[in-house]
Symmetry: C2
């Protein structure tokens, strides 16, 4: 019940504050380990605990050797999504939860991108589509197709000007992957999901190219509705199977 703070926390907080008050940017140098030892009058171990804590959060990076030390670091998207996944691990998300959000956000992005994509961006999207244009012949291929299709959505999100919106969309895709993998929703192969998804993506790309914002929005919305329906069907089928044979 005291306001006592552990020494490692004091050091970590001080370094964090330093970044804010001195307006440090990624790549900027922080005091060396030996400096901190002297400044705080603490042992090497204690100081290292502090930097390790910040490193675990992805806020700093340390390098060994001459000219090495602690540097401000931008937290990576991958690590952030991983940490978010931990939070939702026990939350038992279901398909509909995810699609409720996707149905709202994905059409918005599609609409905002219509007519605003550069040639090389369209090229990239086409390239991604080509990764899943062939009919999947087995479960493994189906899974890979599914992953690539989600990459298509992630790519659209990256092209959006709103990094916050882009992040949320990519996170939704990640959660969807985790849910499908956890519940083994890839057996049997979902031919219809692949086939209709591919069609939607192609249509969407055309609408984006000609700059028809409303059409792009509409296609994406329908795409989300159909995908949700098919995944729910798959889910129902899998759970029936589990009841029968599990």
């Amino acid at each position: 019940m005291s306001s006592y703070k552990k020494r490692t926390i004091i050091v970590a907080d001080t370094i964090k504050q330093m970044v804010v008050t001195e307006n440090l940017k990624p790549g900027d140098r922080l005091p060396a380990e030996t400096d901190l030892i002297q400044r705080f009058k603490m042992s090497k171990g204690t100081i290292r605990e502090a930097t390790r804590l910040l490193e675990a959060q992805g806020l700093i990076k340390t390098r060994t050797g001459p000219g090495g030390g602690c540097f401000v670091h931008e937290v990576s998207e991958l690590r952030t999504i991983a940490l978010l996944s931990n939070y939702f691990y026990f939350k038992n998300l279901n398909i509909s939860d995810i699609y409720q959000i996707r149905k709202l956000l994905e059409p918005e992005v599609a609409g905002s991108l219509a007519g605003n994509l550069k040639k090389d961006q369209l090229k990239i999207l086409n390239l991604i589509i080509s990764e899943y244009q062939e009919e999947p012949l087995n479960e493994e291929q189906d899974r890979l197709h599914h992953e690539s299709a989600l990459k298509f959505h992630g790519c659209l999100a990256d092209f959006a000007n709103n990094s916050l919106l882009g992040f949320v969309i990519k996170f939704m895709a990640q959660m969807l992957t985790e849910v499908t993998v956890n519940r083994k929703l890839f057996r049997p192969t979902n031919y219809e999901l692949w086939r209709r998804g591919l069609d939607f993506h192609r249509e969407l790309l055309t609408a984006l190219e000609i700059g028809d914002s409303n059409k792009a929005k509409k296609i994406m919305y329908e795409h989300m509705c159909v995908a949700e329906k098919l995944m729910l069907k798959q889910e129902a089928m899998v759970s029936t199977k589990l009841k029968e044979f599990g």
Copy 2:
């Protein structure tokens, strides 16, 4: 270039895997420190580094004393939002980015809650509104009002059945707070933002109570639009001031 892994990481990963493969739930016990020391044949310090790593991620909790030890722990929402904030620290979000998402998600939640709130839930919402029903007399009060108003939105999000949607909305509110605080958007006091926000919240509560889903949705959407406009105005004013006097 080797697949060498630090001993602490090996221990941490092994424990993580244990949670997944044994399908452990929050509160379940993990091996005690002394057990792990024997099992891995490592020093106490090394083992502690591993558990500390997992604790930093919020995945486990350790308790001292007899019967103490490591326990599986559900990552807290607060901590998760804090980690997410780190990610966006260098991303330079702006008001419009945040409101683009709020305008899509908040009305959806409002609509879904109409007619579905229990009496005690309505009571809680009323109580929160009472926290900012008096006119703010100074900057500090204005800031507190603003915080309480965001709590109102967070509470609605909690009442939604979709925990994912609720989380995203609460995160948006948090980002909004950080942006306003960082850019010192609280001076001068934004009387209009408070006044109109209060009115919208009251109207919304009525719509939720009588179960008019469409009206609730519409009110919330308008609320978002007005709030965005007022905050952008405030932002423009602040930046003008900075140019003149900064």
